[in-house]
Symmetry: C2
Subunit: 257 residues, 2 copies
């Protein structure tokens, strides 16, 4: 079965979607078969991979509500080996619509288990910036959690709360859940704040922090407007190269377990 990884951080704008798209594309480039699940009502991962609104016929909302199977919602992308379950804004009413359901936190886990994902090597789940029912569904479905951490002061503040929530989910609903790692993003070595955050995080969280860091690189933020990953937009850019290195490091970490 595929390795299921939730990419999450309740702090906004830290690079969750950028990591989901470009780590996914890098793994696909290396021959892995990767399914992305867009669980963010903004649908940025879907847009960043060129899925127009009209093509979002069957979405992650339909899967969570039980209207469709996960298999029926899978769309190919322009990147060979990379597919996606797209998202639309109606996801934001999930907290209310499933409020009374006993299985409300295991909807995604069960949908992915029931789908025939044997052909997939990785499933990456892009989460919204909150610790709500959508993120909890991702954490319950996942084998591991990847935490993009922007090298900024506010981003550091939320890490303890996030790791505590991961621990709570592991105890209550998903014994297999591990913290796959923390990825430093928008890393700018000219900026003191970057080195302050890096020192702080590596001292306190040690081996959890990936060696690979993702530099601030404008090509990463330009690629989504063309609906393709940075690897397709500008393969030699520092951003693309960093995500390829991250994909290699992730594969090593997953295989070493």
């Amino acid at each position: 079965p595929p390795r299921i990884i939730a990419i999450t951080n309740q702090k906004g704008g830290v690079g969750k979607t950028t990591t989901t798209i470009n780590l996914g594309a890098s793994l696909a480039l290396m021959g892995e078969r990767v399914l992305l699940v867009d669980m963010d009502p903004q649908g940025n991962a879907s847009t960043g991979l060129g899925i127009g609104q009209a093509a979002r016929d069957i979405t992650s909302y339909d899967v969570l509500m039980g209207h469709e199977t996960a298999g029926a919602a899978i769309l190919p992308t322009a990147t060979p080996g990379l597919s996606i379950i797209p998202a639309t804004p109606d996801l934001s009413s999930i907290d209310l619509e499933l409020a009374g359901e006993r299985d409300r936190i295991t909807r995604l886990r069960n949908a992915l288990r029931d789908a025939d994902l044997g052909r997939q090597d990785y499933v990456l789940i892009d989460c919204p910036p909150s610790l709500n029912l959508l993120t909890v569904n991702a954490l319950v479905a996942a084998d591991g959690v990847l935490v993009p951490l922007q090298c900024e002061f506010f981003a550091l503040e939320g890490i303890t709360q996030l790791l505590r929530t991961v621990g709570e989910i592991r105890q209550s609903s998903n014994k297999a859940l591990i913290t796959q790692g923390i990825i430093l993003t928008m890393y700018d070595q000219r900026n003191n704040l970057t080195s302050d955050v890096e020192t702080d995080v590596r001292e306190n969280l040690g081996a959890l922090v990936f060696k690979t860091v993702i530099p601030r690189n404008v090509r990463l933020s330009e690629a989504p407007s063309h609906g393709i990953p940075a690897l397709a937009y500008d393969p030699r850019s520092s951003g693309s190269q960093a995500y390829v290195a991250l994909a290699r490091e992730l594969r090593r970490r997953v295989r070493a377990r």
Copy 2:
């Protein structure tokens, strides 16, 4: 009564908290009396103004739950004329805890109305990155909405959805609610994406877009680690000066109505 402004955008990391803190401090510097309301479970606005966890005894959570009055939750900050109702992570359970309450969307409006805020000129509400019950409470309580818009492609995508939600709240629950304006943030004139976004937004949203733009400026992201606004940390920085200009433009727009 004070002018109540919700600072909101469901896209994460666009500068909502940075705008709330520094616009508030700039207005206070100009002699206005300003109350901030931190409605984000991350509590970044509280931290950015030096409110330690121990001091967050009575919070916006207590006010929404009806345990305390808004007046009892107000704390002074180191900036004269600027006070705050702080936030803690328990805010994130509000959706569930108030799910059955008929008045769940008017809790903040009623609490601010009942408090003696006659001495305040402005109330600025910092919202979390979502369109959940916390943000709806802010929109129902507010006279106007300020939308920080990061000059990036993904940030542009959510604007239509946000303005539609503001329109729905105006029709259903708060007839007085207007869009106070859109503020371009992290503006970097060396970056093509910035000018693309600016052109697009000014063409489509015209007079709604403030003339003042907030430049990308590292002093804005350094100040929060010292628990003070950028105006206190580095008053001559381009970031501080931009927020002072924004405060002047906002006052002009409010008085012109």
